[in-house]
């Protein structure tokens, strides 16, 4: 008599910690292509630097694959999350560069709306999802804070988009006071 068929129940979360490396790699590739398109604004080597960073992400995945049984999930999450964080910091840094040193306000706004904001939101969503499935608690109620920031940003962006003269008006009213 043979009992208890091998059912292979899934015990791991629906996404692996390495998903964040995959996401980070894709973000670096996106940055590489975008900085290539905007090459007048950046050093010539920057797209290639981002490509190298993406290759490092691939290497990251290779290491994770080889040491899957050795590294605990906690450790895997943190080094994968750190890589994603580096990619996001690069995106924000480019946004800040547009806004401050280059004074390219339109480009900075466009970058914030099309690259910075969506990538941060996607990252917050997946990190929160991972935390929820793994029953891990992240500090500062990450998802809620992320959603509030997103809502505020959408609101402010919509107002500025619909009435572009609102900022000069606000500035002028402050000067009058």
């Amino acid at each position: 008599m043979q009992a208890l068929d091998w059912t292979g129940k899934k015990v791991a979360p629906t996404i692996l910690p390495e998903f964040f490396v995959l996401l980070g790699t894709d973000l670096f590739l996106l940055l590489s292509l975008l900085t290539c398109l905007l090459e007048d604004k950046f050093p010539k080597a920057l797209p290639y630097v981002f490509q190298v960073a993406a290759v490092i992400g691939f290497g990251h995945l290779m290491i994770s694959k080889e040491f899957l049984g050795v590294f605990g999930e906690y450790m895997r999450f943190w080094y994968c999350f750190f890589y994603l964080l580096v990619a996001l910091i690069n995106i924000v840094a480019i946004n800040v560069r547009f806004a401050t040193s280059q004074k390219a306000w339109i480009l900075a706004k466009a970058w914030a709306g099309t690259v910075t904001f969506p990538t941060i939101m996607i990252s917050v969503f997946f990190v929160s999802n991972y935390g929820y499935v793994s029953s891990a608690e992240f500090p500062l109620l990450l998802l809620q804070v992320g959603l509030v920031i997103a809502a505020v940003m959408i609101g402010v962006s919509a107002v500025i988009f619909l009435s572009p003269d609102i900022l000069p008006k606000l500035r002028r009213s402050k000067e009058v006071k």
């Binding site: 008599m1 043979q2 009992a3 208890l4 068929d5 059912t7 292979g8 129940k9 899934k10 015990v11 791991a12 692996l16 390495e18 998903f19 490396v21 995959l22 790699t25 894709d26 590739l29 590489s32 292509l33 290539c36 398109l37 090459e39 797209p47 290639y48 490509q51 993406a54 290759v55 992400g57 691939f58 995945l61 290779m62 994770s64 694959k65 899957l68």
Partner: protein, 182 residues
Amino acid sequence: MELKKILSNRSTKFLTLLLTSMLIATASAALYDYMFQTGTIGVQAMTLEWQKGADNATAGTQIAGVTASLTTLKGPPNGTRVYTDPVRLKNKGSPVTFDLLIDTVSGNTVNMSSIIVRLYSLNTTAYIENVTVWSNGAKGSDHTGLNIPLNHIWRFEWEIKWKSTAVISDQVTVNLKVRVPA
């Protein structure tokens, strides 16, 4: 001319980067997919377990993990032999619904009259199910949806009938499976 050159340089650079990007992204995704497939299969906690019954010595009951083997079941030709308690199934966890499948019946089945397994609860002494493993020259049908409550133990009673034509060297091997739907 200058503008054309710049555009051409830029598009070549972009195309090169696009190609390498696609390559890196595809390789990374493939690696992740591989890890996902190898990394997410775990072992389900066992809620059902085999236990030796009171007749385990005469039935030659051996339990190794998920497999229980009854190695010395015997029956007389043209007669009936009943092993009332050779093996038991215990539910250690929450209530489980399982299927009892008659996987294979092989060997000298032409001389086998019938093999019937009856399930009884040791907790309530109630009769649960009658499983015809072999009868009238054919394998019986599977039994599905058997519900064993928490901490209950069921005993498997085996009834063996050989035909009068059976000889001492005849052997029949029965493989039953308990399947717990995921």
